[in-house]
Chain length 218, copies 2
Amino acid sequence: MTKSPKIIQIRKNILEDNDINAQKLRDKFKKHKILVVNIVSSPGSGKTELLTKLIPELNKQGIKVSVIVGDLKTENDANRIKKTRASTYQIQTDGNCHLEAHMIENALKNIDWKNSDILIIENVGNLVCPANYDLGENLRIVLMSVTEGEDKPLKYPTMFNSADVCVISKIDLAEAVEFNKKLAITNLKKINPDLKIIEASAKTLTGIKTLAETLIKY
Amino acid sequence: MTKSPKIIQIRKNILEDNDINAQKLRDKFKKHKILVVNIVSSPGSGKTELLTKLIPELNKQGIKVSVIVGDLKTENDANRIKKTRASTYQIQTDGNCHLEAHMIENALKNIDWKNSDILIIENVGNLVCPANYDLGENLRIVLMSVTEGEDKPLKYPTMFNSADVCVISKIDLAEAVEFNKKLAITNLKKINPDLKIIEASAKTLTGIKTLAETLIKY
């Protein structure tokens, strides 16, 4: 059984609607001179933990941050991020496997985004579906933790191809999991030669300053 | 923007079609007295690595295994599993975020499933979408690696609720990542009180025999 033309057309329409909504968001963010970052990864790659270290580093450099975070259920991540004092809103997708531009538009009503320099969107943990949904961001960061294995870029090419930056997270565990960094970087570059790669650890703070500077300079 | 009734209806039809195809598969597997296991998890939780240890253990106990493995791209996982000599077929979904019953029906033409006692289906690494697609399995096993954090069952309730067994994988790393086992088990039981939980490590072989026995006894 292959997909019917009707289903393909409807999926195309959903993506086209999203693209229109995302462009409206991008125009709005540009008007307010706000950098918007969409962070994507597998579940458990350490997106939230990274943000709890990245946001204070950005604040130290005079940068105000607001955050929208997406999960199927729970307010857990928003509660963790709120401890940094960033204006934060949790979207609960109730089963939806990714965020869409119209959800971001709605979420903006609940945070003080106009007073921030950077809006960070932490997407639903999913290395497939979020790849196709533009959220009006300027920069897409994909996390790949050392515990996930080196071949993820080859297996999930759309996600790694659509990203601007790859953060290799939990780098402090590299030795314990026998992470082959050379192979991982070869695979990343094979899928996306322009990808900027940053090694990071929320535990040891490795790479947090570099990531903050990358955002500030963007 | 909420989803239109038209889109909701089409999604419902896709799931209904899949359920019909899955039931046909289940009838076929029953006729041939084959146990079918659907293994799901986040990307990089160690499904393939676990299978490279589980299959030889099953073989030792006289159980023949065939395998269907799903990924968006690459034959990597099938190549790793073939080293166990199990009859193995790789489905490349080319962007699709989950396996569907009709893909399994097609894949059966390429493996010696009728001569096996257990057919193992390794799903696409994704903790959201595969939850809704019955593949005609008798048993669904979800992997949760200790590196992913303890709150995954709460954040991805459909997946953990639809599983029969949860393998807590990479248990050898528990100390290094400060895994809170008690909290993880509390969260798992909260979502699914009937879930059988097995701690395992493909590295130290912890839990591999228990998992093999669980399948044999099923």
